[in-house]
């Protein structure tokens, strides 16, 4: 699934450019970064409520392709800047974690855990 289609499904706001991301078939969802690292699947999209710098560093380590912050959360500018430097698109949805996962599940995306 293309990132722009995932963004449309969750009515996301793009916080960085969304270019250059390969198709995504897996979702990892947690506020615990060690959970993301434990069950990572390269090329997944990550849903989280954690907006600090560790969200981006975890995405880099786990080869996550994009981060979607739930509940309308917005990361600080230094986090957005690091994501731009690392080429990891950031998005934000007003939906909560449960609703976001439910919608993406119905599109055929699979979980990593």
């Amino acid at each position: 699934m293309k990132l722009v289609d995932i963004a449309a499904a969750l009515d996301c706001e793009a916080l960085t450019p969304l270019d250059g991301v390969a198709d995504i078939d897996t979702v990892v969802a947690s506020d615990g970064m060690s959970e993301i690292l434990a069950f990572h699947t390269p090329g997944a999209v990550m849903l989280t409520g954690l907006t600090n710098i560790q969200s981006v560093r975890t995405a880099v380590v786990a080869d996550v392709h994009a981060i979607i912050y739930v509940r309308g959360k917005q990361p600080p500018e230094m986090v957005r800047q690091l994501a731009c430097d690392k080429g990891i698109p950031l998005l934000s949805t007003q939906l909560g974690m449960f609703e976001s996962c439910g919608i993406l599940y119905t599109t055929g995306l699979k979980g990593a855990m």
Partner: protein, 145 residues
């Protein structure tokens, strides 16, 4: 003796949450430049990142070192800190002594040491209460445990 291809060490300060993870992401860049298998890089960097976060969360100071040979990658993380009183408990998934501040950073859910062990082909942890902890991990370059 296998040939050493690259080695490097990074100093890590306790409680410096803003810089936490910088050493591990630098290690990732260095390994990518050596054109090592992406899955081996991912496992190595998960080990380094979890161990680095443990230093930041619990210790006063630590050193993250890695050595790449033509056989494997060795990661050693040594800290000066409180040590781990019960290693068996610390290696159980879900066991944690983390504070709310640590959990707000997305860590401290009792997955750190288990993640390090899961991604290592060999792994040891030695700890002295009141002195510190040393974690050593090896990841084979051929990807076979």
């Amino acid at each position: 003796m296998p040939d050493e291809l690259l080695s490097r060490s990074f100093e890590v300060r306790g409680r410096d949450f803003e810089k936490a993870g910088e050493a591990s992401t630098e290690i990732k860049s260095l390994l990518k430049a050596l054109e090592i298998d992406p899955d081996v890089i991912r496992r190595t960097v998960v080990v380094a990142f979890e161990a680095e976060m443990n230093v930041v969360m619990y210790a006063d100071q630590g050193t993250v070192s890695f050595v790449v040979t033509d056989d494997d990658i060795g990661i050693r993380v040594a800290d000066r800190g409180p040590g781990i009183p019960d290693l068996d408990l610390a290696l159980q998934e879900g066991w944690s002594t983390a504070t709310d501040e640590m959990r707000e950073m997305g860590f401290g859910f009792g997955m750190g040491l288990p993640n390090i062990r899961r991604n290592s082909d060999s792994f040891t942890v030695e700890s002295q209460v009141g002195e510190g902890t040393v974690i050593s991990s090896r990841i084979n370059l051929d990807g076979v445990a």
